[in-house]
């Protein structure tokens, strides 16, 4: 019998060793911190502030994990006809689908899709369309930013949060940072959508409101946040505590060396420039008032200077630990990825003798026309020269930076435009010359050459196209200048270069020709159905679709 006892005893011991303890079930995720544990520490809140730029990395239906902020940037670049993308992915093909191209001999070709861009994009405005709903990208990432910014503002006020050094300064930097991004995102929404939501919920719940307000009200909200940020920044100096925070919230691939960090004063000038941009791009030229131009001039005069550091984004050379994948604009433009094709309509803006053309673009490597029969605008003889070879807009080893917001050149050209429109043509031309010199264009000065206002505006138009390429402004310009309006409303572009296919040109090879291009694009995007399916507009909401 003793054997049974041994068995039973050992069985009991073994079972006892694994006996149920409820405590054993309290397994805590070892991979990630919780808001309550992380955000009461200095490094936690600073990592949280830094992490805001990761929020656009989401799973896009039919495409996988992608940075949708960069998709929105790509939309701007192709809508502004700096580059084109002939591919259907992310609805790019429909986004930059010009309605009609008329050849010099009068033959005209409507898009193979048959309908204007608005009809296509609105047709895809459903969740069923998945990645093809072009309206979702800018919208989504902006509200993701805003939510994280709201919770930064909330977490910063937590009494349990402790800092080394000057806590007041460090908290102030984090507040300024969160408010800056809120201002930035409301600016993006207000500049691109007919309506939006103001979300000031600072909790870690994900509640929403259904009060859709107009794009003008969204810009007002942007201004409100910018002004709050300005008031915080005005109390800061570029001391050690300021830099300590800035250096941790800007990642190394975006250059967080002390010399290149934005100082409080530079940040203030950045916000002033952005406020000027919001006035400029929110109205079409004929709707601009003298007061608007004066306001722009006033802000631009307090805006970015040539030596200012700005908020920018770069890459790591091997693609690890950055937030880009292949959607970073300069990666989209490289010869391997072949997503951005350089538009003939951009290249034609370079004035003869402008050294920026040869520096940045190479002719002859490609000769595409009517790529995949998707439309005549999808053709080019140009590729971007790699940064590794002295270019600016393409990289193969993760070089270069793109700007999140305003630059010195943009500010100078806003100043120029306001000066010209307020009758100070030559001062305006001087500002244009400054930009051209700053970018080492090699072009002779136009100031003092006696140009008329109309000629000065043409100089300005070309310079904005050329100097601000890849900066997300070209579509706003085309919209306010009336280029993207239907031809019946005076829109379109005369003399636009199209690389016409041999069969159509009647020539042995493809031939560039000056054509009439009718873009006929939507001015503002509708609210994406991805939102509306789960958030029905409440009473008093403005229209959410056109």
């Amino acid at each position: 019998m003793y054997k049974y006892k041994i068995f039973l005893l050992s069985a009991i011991i073994v079972m006892g060793a694994v006996a149920c303890k409820k405590a054993e079930l309290q397994l805590v995720n070892p991979n990630a911190p919780t808001p309550t544990s992380a955000l009461i520490t200095e490094s936690g809140i600073e990592s949280y502030a830094q992490g805001i730029i990761v929020r656009p990395i989401v799973n896009v239906p039919q495409e996988g994990v992608t940075n949708i902020q960069e998709l929105a940037w790509a939309q701007q670049i192709i809508l502004g006809d700096e580059c084109y993308i002939p591919y259907g992915n992310f609805a790019f093909r429909w986004t930059n689908q010009v309605y009609k191209v008329t050849l010099p001999d009068g033959r005209s070709f409507t898009t193979p899709i048959g309908v204007p861009q608005k009809t296509s994009l609105q047709g895809f405005n459903s969740r069923d369309a998945g990645e093809l709903n072009a309206f979702q990208y800018e919208w989504s990432y902006c509200y993701y930013f805003i939510k994280q910014a709201n919770t930064i503002l909330y977490a910063v006020e937590n009494p349990a949060l402790t800092f080394s050094g000057n806590a007041a300064t460090k908290k102030a930097v984090l507040r300024a940072w969160a408010l800056w991004w809120k201002g930035y995102c409301y600016s993006r929404i207000g500049s691109m959508y007919i309506a939006g939501i103001i979300n000031n919920d600072t909790t870690f719940n994900f509640t929403v409101n259904n009060n859709f307000v107009s794009r003008q009200d969204i810009i007002t909200e942007a201004t409100r946040n910018f002004d709050l940020s300005l008031s915080v920044l005005s109390g800061l100096t570029n001391d050690a505590d300021y830099y300590a925070v800035m250096q941790t919230i800007i990642p190394s691939f975006s250059d967080n060396s002390i010399a290149h960090l934005v100082t409080p004063a530079q940040w203030i000038r950045q916000i002033n420039s952005y406020k000027a941009r919001n006035i400029l791009v929110s109205k079409k030229i004929p709707d601009m008032t003298a007061a608007d131009w004066t306001a722009i001039l006033g802000l631009a005069n307090q805006g970015l200077t040539a030596s200012d550091n700005i908020f920018k984004k770069g890459l790591t050379p091997d693609g690890s630990n950055d937030v880009s994948g292949f959607t970073f604009p300069y990666l989209l433009a490289n010869q391997q990825n072949q997503w951005f094709f350089i538009s003939e309509r951009l290249v034609q803006e370079y004035k003869p003798g402008d050294t920026r053309l040869d520096r940045n673009f190479v002719q002859g490597v490609v000769n595409d026309a009517n790529k995949r029969s998707r439309g005549l605008q999808f053709g080019t003889r140009w590729i971007a020269r790699n940064i590794e070879d002295g270019g600016s807009y393409s990289t193969i080893t993760g070089q270069g930076y793109v700007n999140y917001a305003c630059t010195y050149e943009e500010n100078a050209l806003m100043k120029a435009e306001a000066l010209i429109y307020t009758g100070q043509v030559d001062q305006g031309l001087q500002a244009i010359d400054e930009v051209r010199n700053y970018q080492a264009s090699g072009l002779p000065a136009v100031a003092g050459t006696g140009l008329t206002k109309a000629q000065a505006l043409e100089e300005l138009r070309r310079e904005r196209r050329v100097a601000l390429v890849f900066r997300g402004l070209s579509f706003f310009d085309a919209r306010r200048w009336g280029v993207t309006a239907p031809a019946s409303a005076g829109g379109g572009r005369v003399g636009a270069i199209i690389n016409v296919p041999a069969s159509l040109a009647g020539t042995p090879g493809n031939t560039p020709m000056a054509c009439f291009v009718e873009y006929n694009y939507m001015d503002y995007f509708d609210v994406p159905q991805n939102e509306l399916d789960f958030n029905t507009p409440g009473p008093g909401s403005v229209p959410v679709k056109q």
């Binding site: 694994v18 991979n31 911190p33 992380a38 709201n150 050379p317 690890s320 490609v366 595409d368």
Partner: protein, 1044 residues
């Protein structure tokens, strides 16, 4: 009372004496609890656990000895053999003993649930590589799908339709202990597989049993048996399945010169110095809608599939030694499996297995079962790269490339061209081996110890503890490509300067299971005169899984050897297999108690009931248990009918509830972490919001079935027919959905228990001895399964749409959903009143082959993106298998298995991509528009319409596949060598032919990818998208088995 009295009197007057004996099986092992009865009396005894018994008998009594699973024997009490009675296994009635789903070994005739099984002797000769190969087609109601022909990829298994939208696989048990999966387990070590298919049989499995259970039993030795050695070797010759129709068009529609040569930019197409071909000019149907695809290639063309896929050899060698001593049994298995890949390189596996049992003292046995699996592979291309969630798209360029490109062309540096198509990002897979090396080494040890004590009467205690340790070592190297001609335009890997990534992962899985069972026989144990038996099971089950992984990476490698982590300029490392891996580490624990009580009344009927209650670290804030009740009943009319032809008939019904656990940490709200630059870390709100209150996903299943065995009156024909049929009906509730949130909330989805699914279907299996003559025996088997699962409820009643996959309320699961071409000229938009075509324009359109075409432009018209249709389900309406084997003169065996999938749909993404470049074979087909025939390019182009899903590429995926055809001859008698106990040579073929209308390469090699190759989860589909999977293999196998 009177009757009992009178029989007692009889016994009193007889010359009774006690006799003792032992009941054993053919191997000499005691048959536990066998029943010994005196015919015509109430006297009887029950054998003890080791088979020994004592009984009071008269010399002229007839003694009836019976035991579950054995043929009943009748002996005279005076028989000298009474001391040692050997029972033969009851082969005729095939009354197997099953364990899975019932807890204690039970005669299959007396179980109330549907348990399917496969014995090693029924494993097809061509099933060399995996247990899934052995199982496919053998289990009714199991859908086993081989999604790829890449070595080591296994299969996806779904039992009885859709249980949850994440396609949780069935639980896998190895000799009673849970293991992570079937991958790498050795077919040669399998003795038997049992499958229970759903919650009704989920009594034992509670919160993890809802998707069904597959239990593998490894080979065991036998007591008092001399060593027996079996050596098995197979050589397989493999090639890909290519389909019955070419993928690529014979003709083209490029611009050509006067001599018919293709032009690019006005001059003949050429290859650049780096080996890239310029993009040919396509004739533009916008300019001329009458462009047709009818030009023959003047250039030399190449079959890229032929260039890329090789014929490859697989060989497998396995050795089994088994036997046993008086109180012990042993079995050792050793296998070595080497599979060369049809694309590149190879996969190797070594399996060591042992199964050792010892009876330490009477009634107490200890068993230790070990499986050691080492796999190693250096596969390239295909879908081998575990780092990629997406299917590796290298097959894209194999399929989707201009026919005039020679993939085997080498550039001036002696390398294959990396990108041979300007204007396209696809890479030449043949060039991969120049710049990429990878290797995976995995070590998996499964050990299971079992202590079992059978008390002399009533009680059996059983304790099992198993641990699985799974280590994976992974190295992935992309060389520095600065010397490559295409350095600035194409590369392998993420950076042209190369990278080396090493990762290590360890997974452990522990399962501890203590069971006490009490068996009472009211007749024998309590001398009550009712044939009632009771079985009580009380169990405690504990499981824990732990996983940890880390990686280190070095990039911008030196262009000279050696290439190692030290040779890179940029280094990074982290938890998980890659930066930002959300589940780089995890642990999971669950435990539960099980109580079950069953009563059997003779052999006539039985009833059982019980519950299991589980705690888990993953639900109910880790504090609340969930309880899963169960009940079952069977009734055997054959006991009453006593018909000569009816050998057995059982009617059974069972109801059970079981669960599926939420994902790891889905209930815990955390911040996302993301490494940023050097030394930076981003914390962020996750766009998928967790839910602390998450509950277990629950399935309630009712199954009703019958098992019937009968025979014909003919001598040789239909000597035994067994039909087993089950109807099942399941309601799954609290299924977890990542429900969308409004974007302005700042998050994308909230995880919650929101979906309900109803499923029902039939599982039928039929086995027959069709003919049993002296020289020929013919057996046949049919398996049939039908399942249909409907989504009853989804969050906010809003469809889940992911590409062409959708989940819609009231619709079947696994549906494809997309716009369709217009089918009639007066078709209306979804509002029901606006026609797609203005009636005044109707004359400009006509219906061609069922779809509306614009006569002038030749374009097909397609419904709006908001007007989509359900295009069928990726799951078959039924699947069915036909298995036949014929044995001639005991030596020659011919067997065949046909698998049939019927009514499933496939979205042929490959074909849609081929439309992009006018390469699809379809472009050669002329249609007639406006009275004029032609292979109009605009017609096909309009159907491509970029990557937008469209019904045109949804095809019938039905197929019939000859899964196995084997001929084997047993030479044992012929060679007449004394020590050779078995010598069998077999020739077999796997996947020899496929009958299908499907236009792709292989209708079985599909997955749930989107048009870019990203695997789609939470769409309740694990197949149905043909995205450049490596097709399955057609194999010819020679096998030799020697036993001595």
């Amino acid at each position: 009372m009177l009757w009992i009295f009178s029989t007692s009197i009889t016994s009193l007057f007889a010359q009774t004496k006690e006799k003792s004996g032992k009941i054993t099986d053919a191997n000499g092992t005691g048959v536990s609890y066998a029943s010994v009865k005196v015919k015509g009396s109430s006297r009887g005894a029950k054998a003890s656990a080791d088979g020994s018994f004592k009984i009071m008998v008269n010399d002229n009594d007839s003694i009836i000895v019976s035991a579950v699973g054995y043929e009943t024997r009748t002996l005279l009490a005076s028989d000298a053999n009474l001391g040692s009675i050997q029972l033969q296994q009851d082969i005729r009635a095939l009354n197997e003993v099953v364990v899975t789903g019932v807890g204690v070994a039970t005669d299959k005739r007396k179980i109330a649930i549907d348990v399917s099984s496969l014995n090693s002797k029924d494993i097809p000769k061509s099933a060399v590589a995996s247990i899934e190969q052995a199982l496919v087609g053998k289990i009714s109601g199991a859908q086993i799908q081989f999604n790829s022909g890449t070595p080591g990829t296994g299969a996806t298994i779904q039992l009885r339709g859709v249980t949850d939208v994440g396609n949780t696989p069935p639980m896998i048990l190895l000799d009673g202990i849970e293991v992570s999966d079937l991958n790498g387990l050795d077919v040669a070590s399998v003795e038997r597989v049992e499958v229970v298919k759903g919650a009704a049989a989920g009594m034992l499995y509670g919160a993890q049993g809802a998707a069904g259970v597959i239990q593998v039993f490894t080979k065991k030795g036998s007591r008092s048996k001399k060593p027996s050695v079996s050596l098995n070797t197979q050589l397989s010759f493999d090639q890909i399945i290519k389909g019955n129709r070419p993928l690529i068009a014979k003709y083209h529609s490029f611009e050509t010169d006067a001599d018919g040569y293709i032009l690019s930019g006005g001059s003949k197409i050429t290859k650049s110095p780096t080996g890239q071909w310029s993009e040919p000019d396509l004739l533009d149907p916008a300019v001329d809608p009458n462009v047709v695809n009818n030009k023959p290639y003047k250039e030399q063309t190449y079959d890229h599939i032929e260039q890329a896929y090789k014929k490859a050899f697989t060989n497998n060698l396995s050795l089994n030694i088994n036997g046993g001593g008086e109180k012990s049994d042993y079995s050792f298995t050793l296998s070595r499996f080497i599979q060369n890949n049809v694309l590149d390189n190879q996969y190797q596996r070594v399996n060591l297995g042992s199964n050792l049992g010892f009876e330490l003292f009477k009634g107490f046995t200890v068993r230790n079962i070990t499986q050691v699996i080492h796999t190693q592979d250096n596969l390239l291309s295909g879908d081998a790269d575990i780092q990629l969630a997406a299917t590796n798209s290298n097959r894209f360029s194999i399929t989707n490339s201009w026919p005039f490109i020679d993939f085997k062309f080498k550039d001036s540096t002696g390398h294959y061209v990396v990108n041979n198509r300007a204007g396209d990002q696809s890479l030449n897979p043949l060039s991969e081996r120049d710049w990429h090396q990878r290797e995976t080494n995995s070590y998996r040890v499964l050990n299971n110890i079992n202590l079992n004590y059978k008390f002399p009467r009533f009680v059996e205690l059983d304790y099992k503890y198993g641990i699985e340790v799974f280590n994976t070592d992974y190295t992935n190297t992309y060389f520095n490509q600065s010397s490559a001609l295409q350095y600035s335009i194409a590369k392998w890997g993420t950076a042209p300067l190369g990278s080396i990534n090493k990762s290590y992962a360890r997974f452990t899985n522990q399962n501890s299971l203590a069971t006490a069972s009490v068996k009472l026989d009211f007749q024998n144990d309590f001398k009550m005169d009712i044939p009632l038996r009771s079985t009580t099971i009380v169990g405690y089950d504990w499981r824990k899984r732990e996983y940890t992984a880390y990686f280190t990476q070095s990039s911008n490698l030196a262009p000279y050897p050696p290439i190692n982590l030290n040779s890179g300029l940029i280094k990074s490392n982290g938890d998980g297999l890659f930066a930002g891996d959300p589940l780089g580490n995890f642990a999971f624990a669950t435990y539960g108690v099980l109580v079950s009580q069953s009563f059997d009344y003779g052999n006539l009927f039985g009833i059982s009931g019980g519950f299991r209650s589980d705690y888990s670290s993953e639900f109910g804030e880790a504090t609340k248990p969930f309880t899963f009740p169960r009940g079952a009943v069977y009734f055997r009319p054959s006991e009453l009918l006593k018909m000569h032809n009816l050998l057995d008939w059982k009617i059974r019904g069972a109801y059970g509830e079981a669960g599926i656990q939420p994902n790891y940490y889905a209930r815990q709200v955390t911040l996302g972490t993301f490494p940023l630059g050097s030394g930076g870390l981003g914390l962020l709100l996750n766009s998928q919001v967790s839910n602390p209150a998450l509950r277990v996903q629950r399935s309630k299943e009712l199954e009703i079935g019958t098992d019937i065995t009968f025979k014909s009156n003919l001598d040789s024909w239909l000597t035994r027919i067994t039909l087993s049929a089950t109807y099942w009906n399941r309601k799954s509730t609290d299924i977890i959905q990542d429900a969308p949130l409004p974007l302005t909330s700042g998050a994308g989805t909230l995880t919650d228990n929101l979906i309900s699914i109803t499923s029902k279907g039939f599982d039928i299996s039929l086995d027959a001895n069709v003919y049993e003559g002296s020289s020929i025996k013919w057996n046949t088997g049919v398996r049939f399964g039908r399942a249909r699962s409907i989504a009853d409820q989804i969050a906010l009643h809003k469809d889940i749409v992911n590409g062409f996959f959708a989940v819609k309320e009231g619709q079947e699961l696994g549906i494809l959903y997309a716009p369709t071409p217009l089918h009639s000229i007066n078709q209306m938009r979804p509002d029901g009143k606006t026609p797609y075509i203005d009636p005044s324009q109707a004359a400009n359109y006509e219906v061609v082959n069922g779809i509306v075409v614009d006569k002038a432009s030749k374009k097909a018209l397609i419904t709006d993106p908001t007007d989509q249709s359900v295009l069928g389900s990726v799951y078959p309406k039924f699947n069915m298998s036909f298995i036949n084997s014929v044995v001639i003169k005991n030596n020659l065996t011919i067997s065949a298995q046909l698998d049939w999938y019927y009514g499933n749909k496939i979205y042929n993404i490959v074909r849609q991509w081929l439309y992009r470049d006018r390469l699809s074979r379809d472009y050669d087909d002329a249609i007639t528009v406006d009275g004029k025939p032609g292979a109009y390019v605009n017609f096909y182009n309009s159907l491509y319409n970029s990557v937008q899903p469209i019904s045109w590429f949804v095809e019938d995926g039905s197929f019939i596949r000859l899964r196995d055809l084997s001929v084997s001859y047993n030479f044992t008698d012929a060679v007449k060598v004394k020590w050779v106990k078995n010598l069998t040579l077999s020739l077999s073929a796997r996947n020899l032919f496929t009958i299908t209308n499907y236009k792709g390469l292989d209708p079985e090699a599909t997955g749930s990818e989107d048009s870019q190759g990203n695997a789609q989860t939470s769409v309740a589909a694990f197949k149905g998208a043909d995205y450049f999977h490596v097709p399955n293999l057609k194999s010819f196998i020679v096998g030799l088995n020697i036993g001595f």
